[in-house]
Amino acid sequence: MSKATREAFGDALVELAREGVDVVAVEADLSKSTTTAKLADAFPERFFNVGIAEQNMIDVAAGLAVSGKVAFTGSFAVFATGRAYDQVRNTVCYSLLDVKLAPTHSGVTVGPDGGSHQMLEDLALMRVLPGMTVLVPADYNAAKAALRVAALTPGPFYIRLGRVGAPEVYPEGFEFEVGRAHVLREGTDVTLAACGIEVSEALKAAEALALEGISAEVIDVATVKPIDVDTLVKSVSKTGRIVTCEEHSVLGGMGSAVSEVLSEACPVFTRRVGVADTFGTSGEPAELMEHFGLTASHIAAAARELLG
């Protein structure tokens, strides 16, 4: 099964509302794409469409949060974080409000819409904000669980969702634990730390490396902030080397976060698989994964390089 993480957005909102959680969603004219339309259909009174006005979207959500609601916001990652950054910083985070940004269409797998719409800097922007928790779920089940835990945990959250199908990594009913990285495969030679859609690529890379006699440990760094230092240190203490894998710029994202903490806690040789310091471009998602060097074969190559 390969459902997109964005599909979890509307599903989680409807589930939470049915359970009596006081959730609302504020959308900026993208409800069908982000799937917040599911909440609009089931609970119209819990849905606010601001039109094409992302700054207003974030601050209307802030106001709803001040009134006592758990306020989710939609739109695409590029607009929700970039266009409305000051609103996220100065109102949501500075006031520590229960606003949960769950924009979709992150990364190059947006596809043909091209570089203007492929957000590759959102993790960098969001993780530097005090008070912000940053989650990058690997698949539909993890996304639904991440959205649930965000709704039930006080404070600002950023949940990074994608447009295209993500191979299933976690079973239905998986419970997301904020701040915990998951060791999905144990190994001794190299650590592959991935997030989002790259988790399944890292698992494939580990399979390929195993055929060559290389034992790769795969860790899902599903919480980019606060990052799970202990799990990372434990792993690299054993393997001595790490490849970070993310559908994001190599600047400022999960790979940077991992490098920051390991450079202090347990310095090891590192390779960062991600998009080089560049914008995206039009193409089919699979072509773009290949073009920008994000596939399992690129991850395996980086691991071999470290072992070489």
């Binding site: 606010f48 601001v50 039109g51 209307v60 109102t91 006031s95």
Partner: protein, 279 residues
């Protein structure tokens, strides 16, 4: 009926506090704090805003959002005067460890609903707040949002203006402190705002224009706003920047500058016509 004399007395006390706290802090924004003192006094001491200083998070309270967050001193003066915190805190404005940050910080100051300071955001926040509170049938809690006129140059204000009328937010009252000046000079010269009341009207709001220093008229405008149940209301209050201190009045230079010791003494002398009551 509002007690006009009481409001005027409170406004005068607030103006003294504004000048004193900014002088003590050696930085801050006197011009826009003084221009909105009468409006804020009407809200807090004219029976407009339902609130309980002994219980800042009283669920039934109305909400006040100071969108023009640089006018924090006027809010702090009102909150101290109302008893949200001790007056001794006023002397700590803008200092390390203070409850009273340079711009309102809801994490630190009792009575501050949400942090502001980056202009153009308060009306959006107020829209969300009004929509959230108004989702309860029969709920008559009101949301008041005070903006500067220069602030209306932020495009987000008009995104919010559309939202408010689209959703018929009749529990939302915006007030524009229309003092005509911004940091770089006259608003009309920096970036002309045109007819503010008409602009809001064109966005589907009920607009009321009033002299922002006539507390009786301001209270009447708030009463009109509360009785208006067909969408959001804006009160465009014509004011004078620096009102109450002759050498600050109508002078953009006093937007964000602290008075010297000599200027402070002169300002307080002018404002001393209303003596602080012993209590």
């Amino acid at each position: 009926m509002p007690d006009v004399e009481l409001i005027q007395e409170k406004a005068a006390l607030m103006r003294r506090d504004i000048v004193e706290m900014i002088a003590e802090a050696r930085s801050g924004h006197p011009g826009g704090s003084l221009s909105s003192a009468d409006i804020v006094a009407c809200l807090y001491f004219g029976g407009v805003l339902r609130h309980d200083p002994s219980n800042p998070t009283w669920p039934e309270r109305d909400r006040f959002i100071l969108s023009k967050g640089h006018a924090a001193p006027v809010l702090y003066a009102a909150l101290a005067e109302a008893g949200y915190f001790g007056r001794d805190h006023l002397g700590t404005l803008r200092k390390l460890g203070s409850l009273l940050q340079g711009h309102p910080d809801s994490k630190k100051t009792p009575g501050v609903e949400v942090s502001t300071g980056s202009l153009g955001q308060g009306l959006s926040i107020s829209c969300g707040l009004a929509a959230g509170l108004g989702s309860n049938p029969g709920d008559d809690r009101q949301v008041f949002c005070l903006m500067g006129d220069g602030e209306l140059q932020e495009g987000q204000v008009w995104e919010a203006a559309m939202f408010a009328s689209h959703h018929g937010l009749s529990n939302l009252v915006a007030i524009v402190d229309d003092n005509g000046l911004q940091i770089d000079g006259a608003c009309s010269e920096v970036m002309c705002l045109g007819q503010i009341a008409q602009k809001f009207a064109a966005f589907g709001w009920h607009s009321i224009e009033v002299d922002g220093h006539d507390v009786s008229a301001v209270c009447d405008a708030f009463a009109d706003a509360r009785s208006h149940d067909a969408g959001p209301v804006v009160i465009v209050a014509r004011t004078q920047k620096g009102k109450g201190v002759s050498f600050m009045e109508g002078n953009a230079g006093w937007h964000g500058k602290a008075p010297s010791a000599d200027e402070t003494a002169r300002a307080l002398e002018e404002l001393s016509t209303v003596e602080r009551s012993a209590s």
